[in-house]
Symmetry: C2
Subunit: 142 residues, 2 copies
């Protein structure tokens, strides 16, 4: 007896969450792809484009484009790598860093919005359920 209703509900959640994030990011002049890159920079510090490409699982060429857009929007700058003249270090600007700090806060507010008011027992069961599903998906994708 497949539990397709739960899957459909999860798919709806995916759609709504995607809309919410895209809408919020658009307000900051960001796209999902660009946000992923600056989010990474924010949490790991200045990185070479090569490292970003590996972490984001996209091609180096793609990173060039994303960094171009982010630089034009004032989020990041390219700095020379101190010891390897082939490489560049992508670094958050002051403005970018401030925006990312604000995004951290927005992230916490979203968590608050979604889960505040949920009874502890249900919250625990929900987390357990998501972990279960994530584990199954990881196996399936391996």
């Amino acid at each position: 007896m497949p539990r397709t209703d739960a899957l459909d509900l999860v798919l709806e959640l995916v759609v709504l969450l995607g809309e919410d994030m895209a809408q919020s990011l658009a307000g900051d002049g960001l796209t999902v792809s660009r946000a992923r890159l600056v989010w990474l920079l924010h949490h790991t510090g200045p990185s070479t484009q090569r490292a970003l490409a590996d972490a984001l699982k996209v091609t180096p060429r793609n990173v060039t484009g994303l960094v171009d857009g982010l630089a034009q929007a004032g989020y990041v700058v390219r700095r020379p790598h101190p010891s390897d003249r082939r490489a560049t270090l992508v670094t958050l600007t002051e403005h970018g860093a401030q925006k990312l700090t604000a995004m951290d806060a927005a992230h916490r507010e979203l968590a608050e919005l979604l889960f505040a008011g949920m009874p502890d027992a249900q919250y625990a069961a929900f987390v357990g359920g998501v972990e279960h599903v994530v584990a199954r998906l990881r196996e399936a994708l391996r």
Copy 2:
């Protein structure tokens, strides 16, 4: 105390589910956008491009491109509308209909994969939790 861990877990689920679907669809020569269109056709029958644009919440121009690609891939054909000569009715081909029936089965199998083995109590709590989160998101997006 924001429950950011649950949000991060849900975001991971979104990523993994997206990868799983994209991988599966690529095997059928489909993209996510094209799959959404044929999925709609499969469940509502032949439709005008205008109706598809409204249902998918994209522009008519976008639908033109998606239908072009799906027609070339043999999933759909454009037929004249019987009473309105401005409009076309996008219809699944025999091949497309068979593929969609197979996708229905794959959908049930995915539900089976994700939720089989989950205790009834946890399943119920999980569904309740997702419903809670979906409701909150609906409010936020309104």
